[in-house]
């Protein structure tokens, strides 16, 4: 039972476990995010194969760089920012860029706009997350469950009047201490 509890773990704990070489933890990060990242890339690129490549490359880059990435805010923000950059980078390619010329030139004529970069970022994050509504029940559930877990951190933090950062560092300290103890127990076996 407890072995399956990865689904309940907050993103940052999964990242910590991945850094320590736990591939299973990484597969749960994939479980959580692949769906909406795929849907987002598929929307913009209009091609399933291209969207699949983007998602695969994104997870590969996350996995290989996980020790060096500074998750300034959250894993989700990092992923949403990365998928946007990768999609735009992909569009830049010859042959693909042609598909967007008309749409872009119409748009820049129409003008526009959310002028605040921060609001644009938040809006994009929301749009990407709304993509989970297009996933079937079970796939959606995985993400919603993990959000609830992430939420509970926030709630605990609010109830205790401390920052989420403190909660997270307390949890990771607790994990480290318990792990050392368990390590010692295993040695005795």
């Amino acid at each position: 039972m407890l072995m399956d509890n990865y689904t309940e773990l907050p993103d940052l704990v999964l990242i910590q476990l991945t850094k320590e070489g736990d591939q299973l933890a990484f597969s749960h990060i994939y479980e959580r995010y692949w769906g909406m990242l795929f849907i987002h890339a598929r929307k913009i690129l209009g091609s399933e194969d291209e969207a699949k490549d983007i998602v695969q490359n994104l997870f590969f880059s996350l996995y290989t760089n996980i020790s060096h990435i500074d998750f300034k805010t959250t894993l989700s923000s990092y992923l949403y920012r990365s998928v946007k950059n990768m999609v735009l980078d992909h569009i830049k390619h010859q042959k693909i860029v042609d598909r967007y010329l008309e749409s872009f030139s119409n748009f820049s004529d129409h003008g526009a706009l959310i002028t605040d970069q921060e609001i644009r970022r938040k809006e994009l994050e929301k749009i990407i997350e709304q993509g989970i509504d297009e996933l079937p029940g079970k796939m959606k559930e995985v993400f919603v469950l993990s959000r609830r877990e992430n939420m509970s951190h926030k709630e605990i933090a609010e109830k205790l009047g401390i920052t989420q950062h403190t909660i997270k560092s307390q949890i990771s300290n607790a994990i480290r201490i318990l792990r050392n103890k368990i390590g010692a127990c295993l040695m005795l076996f």
Binding site: K52, S103, A112, I119, A174
Partner: protein, 389 residues
Amino acid sequence: MNMEESTFKELLQKYQDGKCTPEELNILENWYLAEARKPIPEYSETQLAEVKTAVWEAFSEKAGFESQNHIPESKTVKLFRNLGIAAALVVALGIGFYFYSAQNTKNNQLVNQHTTPVVPGSNRALLTLADGTTVALDDSKNGELAQKSGIQIVKLADGQLLYRISKSTQKTGLEHLSNTVQTPNGGQYQLILEDGTKVWLNAASSLRYPMAFSNHDRVVELQGEAYFEVAKDKKRRFVVKTIQQEVAVLGTHFNINAYPEESSVKTTLLEGSVRIVQKTKGTGATVLLKPGQAAQFNVDRFDVKEVDTEEAVAWKNGYFVFDNEDLKTAVRKVARWYNLEVVYTGQIGAVEIGGSVSRFDNIDQVLQVLRLTTRLNFKVEGRRLTISH
């Protein structure tokens, strides 16, 4: 304008190199948002499952994963490690749950005193366009609400309203077309004006503003209460007109409480500077506020005080904060948000209220704060709140 292929490619390259100007970023990122809002052809559950497996397999092969399969394997070490994590989480969640349930028990005891559900307010408002068309705003649908005179009115995912003006649209004349956003009792709303100014509108309030501001100033009219984060524009001052006053700024954060039922308009400044001009009595009395100050017009002059600005904008952050506030003023705030009618029975003199409580709590939680500091009786029946000795 026809966007040449090379120009678009150059822009994408600049984006990648982080060399875009703010204007270029603005266009590119907004275009991207528009693309991201497009619908996607339907995928069946099986199709999605296939995509999921295919991508995972390609990834795990490339990354050299031990197993192509990501179903949990059983390893004793892993079990113990997870037990460790689980234990740590149980400790943390346990603490949280203790606090949560302790509070809940308190809530339940209060709820049991009566059964009528009185719910706190939510994001609700009515938008009236220049031609009289009305659009109900709530948390349900997002995207384009209306397209009028070359202006697209878009509701963002978090409920904010955004005005998007096409470049080809003649800006002249638009300043004469006003829109009004009006919140009912128990409603609040947040909007972003055409210049980027953000406005939070409290319950039972209305804001009237032009579709586009003119070249020399930015004028809006307020009734009720609003918090403004005015976009900086040194050339065009931002003016909020209320029945009694005009508040003029260049770019700053401030709160105006101008409900008709309150004795005078109260302006609280958080950042920057504002100039207030009284229009009614005192013919043109004026005052300049510094951050941390609040001004109220009293008989014939402005009363300026150093205040706790948190208190003035507590409503926007989801709280009622009463710092020795007059009972009736405090009760009016609560009644506007929970949509209650207030009845006082018997003589109730000057009473001051202190305390703070979430605006999203059960009404009893809020009334409990009032009870504690006043020793008065507060009773809710239907939509009526009766206050007595």
